[in-house]
Every structure is written in C-alpha cells, then in structure tokens.
Assembly symmetry: D2
Homo-oligomer: 302 residues x 4
C-alpha cells in the first residue's frame, strides 16, 4: 500500500460529488494537513472560509455505491501552538429563559504545548488559573459524498458522516461510511485538540493538524456510520432531536449485531438493554450526533 | 445518628405529600427492603402493584421547603436469586418503521448469583450462551414529594427526582433533591441489579434489594437533582425530548459551578465546553433523563 | 336534570383525587364563576395563588374508572372589565439565540368591553393603537382526576386533560375526558377572553368568567381527550415535544374512527391523509397540546 | 413581461447550483408541466426517478445573493385523470408501540375528475364508498438553490424551501425564497391534487399538473420563506422537531412584523399572542414544516 502526502490546493464547505483532488488505491494511507474550522493554516494565514473547510475529495479506487469506506485514523499531530474556542455555551443547551443572561460569546485563544501535549487558555480567566487539559485530538468533520448527488454543508451531518463532532473519532478509531458515489469521495477537516461531549460552546479547541488515515473499501452495505475502538464497537446517528439520533444509532446497531454477530433482535435487546452506552457527540450543529456503543468484551468469540 | 430498619406496611405508585410511614432525624440512616418493579418481594410474593411500588414516605426532621435533601447511597445488597427484564427494545428507541418488525416483548427471568455478584439469563438465548454480567446495583426510582402538593406517578420523573433509571445512582453516590414539602418525604424503590444507558428494553434487571441510605438536610436551594460520586459531580434533567433534559441538567450545572465553585458563566463554559460528559439515564419513561457530569479533577481546590 | 350554581370556597393548584366540593347527578348542569389565572376574582380581590387555581372537584354520580366524562361547554360570560397578558413571546418559541434580544416580559392590562364583546390594550402600544379583538372565550385548564391517585399541577396537562390552553375548547364544544377516579372529579378554571394558537406569550387574555357546563357519564373507554364542535370531531394529545403530542392525538383519532365510524386503519389513513387538520393548542406549558381534527362532513352517515 | 412555456428535458432529485435549464427576466411568467412524485408524466410514462423530480433550474435575471425571489402561484391545472397515495399513516405520526399493528402501506390509485375538479379512490374501500374530495391543488416541493453551493435532496426542506408539503402553497399564494445563488435557480415539482395537514401518509394525492408561476426579484433579505394569501401573511420554518420548525417560523415573523409593519417585539408579541395561527405543513419528511400565519385584518394600514 502506498502513502500519499496530500496538500490541498482547494478547500470545500460542502461534502458532495465534487471533482476528486486525489486518487488513491484501496488500502492506501493519506497524510494531510488540515486548516482550522475558520480556515486558518498552521502559520495563521487564512486559506479558506468557514464553515469547516475540508480537505478532499479523495477518490478511492474500487469504491462503489452500496460499499462501505473504512477509515482508520492512524494519527493526529497538532501543527500549531494556538487553538480557539467560543467563550459561552450555545443558547440551545440551556433552558430557554436562561439564554437572556448568557454573556456575549467571543473567540478566545488557547495555548497548545506540543511537547507536553496539553493546552490552556492564553489569557487568564478567573477560576481557571491552573486549568490545563491534556490533548485528546479528534476529527470534527469527515465523511463521504452523500446520496443522490447531494452536496451538504460541512456545518451539519447525516448518513454520510459530516460534522459529527464526536469525541471518540480519534487516533485508534476506525469508522465506516456508506458509499454513495463512485470512489466514495472522502473529505476531512475541522480537527479539535480536545472537546467535551456535545460541543456545547460550538467549538472544541479548534486548531490545525497533520492527520494520517488509511482508506479501504469493504463490500458491505451500511446505512449509518459504524465504528470501532480498541474496546468498543459503536454506531452513529445524526439528526434532531437527540431522540431521533439515538433511534438511528440504535437501529443501526441492531442491524450490525444481527448481520455480523449472530444476535437476533431479542438477543441483541437483552445485551443492549443491560450493557449499552450512549455518547452525546454534538448538540450544537443542525444535526445532533448520538453514538450507540457496546464493549467488545460482550462480543468475544462472535 | 440512628439507624432505622424500615419495613413498609404499604407501598405507593405515586411520589407525593402522603402521610409519613417513618420519621427520622437529620443525618439518620435507613435500611429497608424494596420490592421489584412489579411489586414482588424477595420470596416471590406480590405485595403491591406496579408501576414501581415505593417504600416511604420517610419524614426527615428539619427539612423545609427550599432545602435540599442529601441522600447518600451507602449500600445495596440483592436479596433474591432472580430478576426479570422485558425482552425487546421499546418502540421509541428505534426508527419508527423498524417497530413493525420488532418481536413481541415478553417478561424474561435472569439468575442472580449473590455470591459471585453476577447475573445471567435463566433460559438459554441463542448467541448469549456465555453472557454473564457483573452486578451493578442502582436505584431506579427515588425522590421527594414534589411541589404544590402534587403526587406524581412512579413511572416518571421531574425536578423532585422519581423514575430516572440512571445507572450512576448507585452505592457510593450521593444525590441531593430539592425539598418542597415539610420533612421532604423521601421515597425509594425500583432497584436494578444492572442496567444499560437508556433502559431501552423498559427495564433493568429488576429484583429486590436491601438498601442503606443516609438522609441529611442542607440549607441550600437547588432546582434539579445534583449528585456526586468518588470521581465526578453531576446534575440531572428530566423531560422529553432528551434535548430538553440536557438543557435542564446543563442550566443546573451552570448554577452549581457559579454558586459553589466560583466559576461565572464564561469560566464554566470554558470548562464544560472541553471536559463535560453527558450520560443518558433513561429514554423509556414519560420523562427522559440526562445527566451532566464533570470530573472533580477539574474542580480541585475550588 | 338539575342546574347547580357552584360557588367554591377553596381553589386548587393541582388536579387530583381531592375531596369533592360538589356532588351532582349524571347530566346535571353547573354554573360557576372562575378566578383568573393569578387567582384574582371579578372584584380584583386575590382569592387563591397561581398557577391556574381551579374550581372543584365536582363529583359526578355514576362515573367509574374506564368511563368517559362528557363536558358540554354551554356558555361563558366574562364577569370583569379587565384581563391581563404577559407582554413578550416566551423563550421557547423563538430561535434560541434570539432569546438574548427579547425584552423583559411584564404583566399588561387589557380592557374588556362586555357589551361589545371585544377587548383592547389598556395603555396604548405603538403600532397597535386601533387593535381591537372580538372576544373568543375558551377554558384554558380543565379535566378530571388522573390515574393512580396522582395530583398534577394545573400548569400542565396529560391524558386527564389539564392546562391544554386549546382555543377551540369554547362554548359550543363538547369534550370527553377519561375517568380514573370514582365520580370523575372534574375541575375547571383559567379561562381566557381570547388566545392565539400556542399561547406563545404564556397567557391568553386572562380574566374571570361565569362558565356553564353540563356533565354526563358515558360508558366508553378513551385514552386521550376527545371533542366535538358544530363542524368537527377532534382528539387531543398532550406532551413534549409537539411531535409526540401529535402522535398521541393521531393514535387516539385512529381508535375513534375504528370504534365509532367503522373505518379500519387503512380507510382512516386515506381519510386523514387528505383531510386532517392539526391545531396547535399550546407550546408554552410543560406539556404541549396538539389537536387532530376532522370535519364531520366526511363522517356523515357513519 | 414575457410568458415562457418551459418543457424540461431533464429533472432533478436535488435543489442546488445546477446549470440553468431556462433563463427568464425579472417578472416573467413560466408555464410548465410537472411529473408526479414518482417521476411519471401525464401519459403514465416514467420520465425520471423519485424522490420528487423537479423542473428547473430557472435562472431569473437580476437575482443576487441576499435578495428574495417572489413566486406568485398563478394557476395549477391537473393534467391526468389519476393520482396515487400511500395507504397507511407513517410510523412516526402514531405512538411508537402502535406502529406494530399498522398494516403494510401500499400504493393506491385515485380517480381525478378534471371537469368536476374532484377526486375519489379508484377501488372501493370499506367505509369510504361515497368519499369524494374537492381538488385543492398545491405545490409540494419548490424553492431555490441553497447557500454555500449545497445541493439538497428534494425529499427534504430548509431555509431555501424544498419539500415543505404545505397545503396553503396553492394558486393565489405568493411565496418569497431567500436567494443564495446568482439567478436564484428556481425549481418546482411534486404537486398534489389535495393533501391534509402533515402529509401523514407520506403523500398527498400525487399527480401531474400544468403550473403557472410568475417570478420576480425583490431587494430584501429574508432568512426563512415568507408568504401571502388573500387573507393572511405567513412565514415557514423547516426542521425537526416540530418545536424547532415553529421557532424558525416565529422568529421570522417577528423580523417581518418589525421591518415591514412597524411592530417592535413587544407589539408583535401582543398581536401574535392573541391572533396567531400555526399550520402543520408536513410531519413526514426529514425536515418537518410549520407555518406561522397572521390575518391581514390585523395589519391593515400598516
């Protein structure tokens, strides 16, 4: 398998059936540097506009509609010493009348220590003087061209992936996206140095990264994205309200447990009913993200 | 402080301003045996009807409206060798059209090994032949008399607590409920041997327990329940949709971080935005439950 | 049938199994004067606290659990020359970030012309100098004791009725509530001189009324309230989100069309699919209200 | 102004920045024949695939980003003697557990009497033997290219319009869409002979039409679609859940009442609070549609 160092000359605010920027073979690895969510590069130069400018699309040979594109997130290295966040929780995550007393939300700078792999606020904030966070890099927005020739804003997400802002989409995680377009047409960007559940201020710590991913084609039809970490398998649903995102993820997990793990709906219900975990990816974007996660402990030997 | 061994002579399907079954002093401990959610005791005799028959109410001396009742869950010991679950995920946790193909949901028995502290299905289910779960006891339904003299079904929850079915409400956890009625009027029941996030089959593993709780009064006004484990603090919101439960829990956390940790809305936003965890308690009951959780690591010294 | 002139000596902020304030026979009529939602009477004297103090409970002889209580709203006569509203739309009916720029919501007085049967703002408001509304009286909050011995705040609603704030619950309308407690235990109050869909400022024009209702018992089991006007039949669902309220109302309509109009699910679907109307009752209270309405034109002869 | 008779040679399942099929001047009229939602023409020949194949895009000279495209629906004439519907309410409009007992949903044919302008089921259905509906033509799906160069499935809707399936989008109605792309790029299709609120079986009576629209450019920035009938003005919100669609529509109405009718938020609240009407457009598509409607009676002279 080849490794491609991909330097985009153009960035995209939609994920769709755009002309490929790179062709690779099934199983190849790509190393690429992403802009931050506002379109600034590691030198602080603005190279694109928001929202979430994407690198891509990457055409993967052999990927056909009905396949899955397997994306192994092999590594993420921060490439800049600063990141930014918004400073106040978004209006939709607090009780409506409480929005009245939220302060204005500003852009705030964080220092990133790339040796220690930690981050802290640049300017002191009362109460958080000693607040230092270990980095926990994750990809905020990535996926494949959607169905029907659609091109969808990188602000949101759907069956095709997109701006899920899910914390566990990180190095060591593998994710599968349902392929609609020939070549899959893979995009990525909007990487975070760290982020809480929900992305409730509207950002993680936004900065630039060098991301290494391996892209492979599987002849397997899925509806919603599926994933795997060292410990768990998970499915993702993207929608509003959160209830519906949870429904999508749960329905996808039932299909997966049936097709790959030999558990019919009753057996899967017994399992999930007592061991399932749900993770809130984002409750900020036009489509919220919920993951349905199961420890591989319960699936050994299946 | 005294320890009361409380044996109910009556059980309740509402949480409300009912005549106290027990009077205790602020700081006393109560040991009591709960029925399972269908009203059966440890001998398998039906002593009450569902839903979720509660032990109580317990009148705590000194508790006044505007106070908080602090409930320390000191211990939970299973008292029966069997539990039960429903066998299929509920219709509301899958995509609507998928409900058509769900099998009928039956009551299913689980064996509980009270030595090994584990549980497994009584009758073999294809695919789960070696499925053995460690016990993780939790209280499914507990709380205090609600405001306005209301009496609310133990099937649901609200600011007063109730049927939250939240996995972390377990031994080692402390929870505070907002007091509305004199004496608080504390109820508990519906204990589970284990349960996944969401309670998606409509039950955890329902069985009988001996529960030990310590009840204290704090002169502190809260709106939604708050909690603490060894590692985290958390707040709870109860509502549909899940989005709104998340709003309640987040608003309560902002109030708590301000009043007790000296973090104004901006500082709290910086913190929560990057480290918050959200747990889905239940997505089954008339009110869903979402917890907003923060590691105490970030609050040391505050 | 007798007509009872009922003057309450106590008012209630819950709907529940409280001791009856009046006993009547099946088919009797009751004439009673209601307080406004803040508890003030027609003389402007505060006789009770909010929320929504109710007259009742009225015990109807022969009403048993599983029956329906039929309530015919025979008349509503305003008894005061003033009403009040809140002055700004509630935070939950606008986009969350727009809540920041909502002005503070104050109590505002309206003049009620009981001869002309119209109302207008007491103090001039720029842009509304000639704004005069015809009265359209409606009952904001009424219903019967809920199941399980619950007592539920008059701020909200459920299968039992309650604070539905639905505009068509007006003179000429008949509504049926599912009986849970012996005697049904009927409550009413919170009458509005007029109100838009949704009750989006949190009030209609709140004032005092003399209300005439006839209460009868039907041996018929319903789950959600049902209603009838001169032109339509309708069902009501109460829940959040609105989507769920719509589900309850639609499911109830399907049951009704099957049991009383001989339309199976397919026939009912053909009918509703092309002629149904949905009315938003309230999108303000803890439970939202949606009505599913069908013109009787389509049901003639059935 | 010119009248263009537009016969498409291609149809689209997305609304987006596609190459124009027709160029017209600001204020011109277009007469065009639409396919039914499944892609069949008036002769019953399949000319395109679903979902909802659109005629267009139509480039309107002078339309720039930030403008509004005004669409006057001048006429709709049915061009075929048959239409179709699905036969059973969709799973998401009934209580989840009730989905289990819904019959399978089939395609069903309706006869359209183009003289009498009425429609009835082709094959008799028990209970609906005399069910004849007057036609009430409406456009199910229309709008303009969305922002950011997106191309969005004709199954759904957003700020740009799309598959709103709102009953009042009919002859005599004017609607304004926010322009994002040069020329606006107007699409239309998916016309219904009649449809109930919500489109709860997933279709109206789907058939082919000759539609006459006049397209003009206004230099006015709007966020969500706005409309006007003989009696009312209205705004439209598209989202899930319905609560959010209502928020979008209400926020847009507040902006409109401020900018064009001189009513600040308080005056607008007084007005809407007591006279607003909400219409459920669709509760079937990926984005639900709610309209916020105000009678022009209240706006005379403003």
């Amino acid at each position: 398998m080849a490794t491609h160092r991909f330097t985009p000359t153009a960035y995209h605010n939609v994920i769709g059936s755009l002309p490929p920027a790179l062709h690779i073979a099934d199983g190849d690895t790509v190393v690429t540097e992403t802009l931050d969510a506002a379109g600034y590069d590691k030198e602080g130069v603005q190279r694109a506009s928001g929202p979430n400018p994407m690198n891509g699309p990457i055409f993967v040979e052999g990927a056909e509609r009905g396949d899955s594109l397997k994306v192994e997130i092999l590594g993420m290295v921060p490439t800049r010493d600063t990141g930014f966040t918004r400073s106040v929780v978004a209006g939709n995550v607090v009780d409506p009348e409480d929005v009245r007393t939220l302060p204005p939300s500003d852009k705030v700078i964080w220092q990133i220590d790339r040796e220690a792999l930690s981050t802290r606020l640049s300017a002191p904030v009362a109460g958080l003087e000693s607040f230092v966070l270990p980095l926990s890099p994750m990809i905020g927005c990535f996926g494949v061209a959607p169905s029907l020739g659609q091109a969808i804003s990188t602000a949101t997400s759907g069956e095709f992936g997109g701006n899920m802002d899910y914390r566990l989409l990180a190095p060591g995680t593998t994710i599968w996206f349902p392929v609609s377009a020939p070549g899959a047409l893979f995009f990525l960007g909007d990487c975070h140095a760290v982020q809480g559940d929900g992305e409730i201020v509207g950002t993680g710590i936004e900065t630039t990264f060098e991301v290494t991913v391996r892209l492979s084609v599987e002849k397997k039809k899925i509806i919603w994205p599926r994933g795997e970490t060292a410990d768990d398998i998970f499915t993702i649903g993207n929608a509003r309200p959160l209830d519906q995102a949870l429904q999508h993820a749960t329905s996808e997990m039932l299909r997966w447990l049936a097709s790959d793990y030999g558990l019919d709906k009753t057996a899967a219900s017994h399992l999930l009913g007592q061991v399932v975990r749900y993770d809130v990816g984002n409750v900020f974007d036009p489509a919220y993200t919920m993951a349905c996660r199961v420890s591989k402990t319960w699936l050994e030997g299946r």
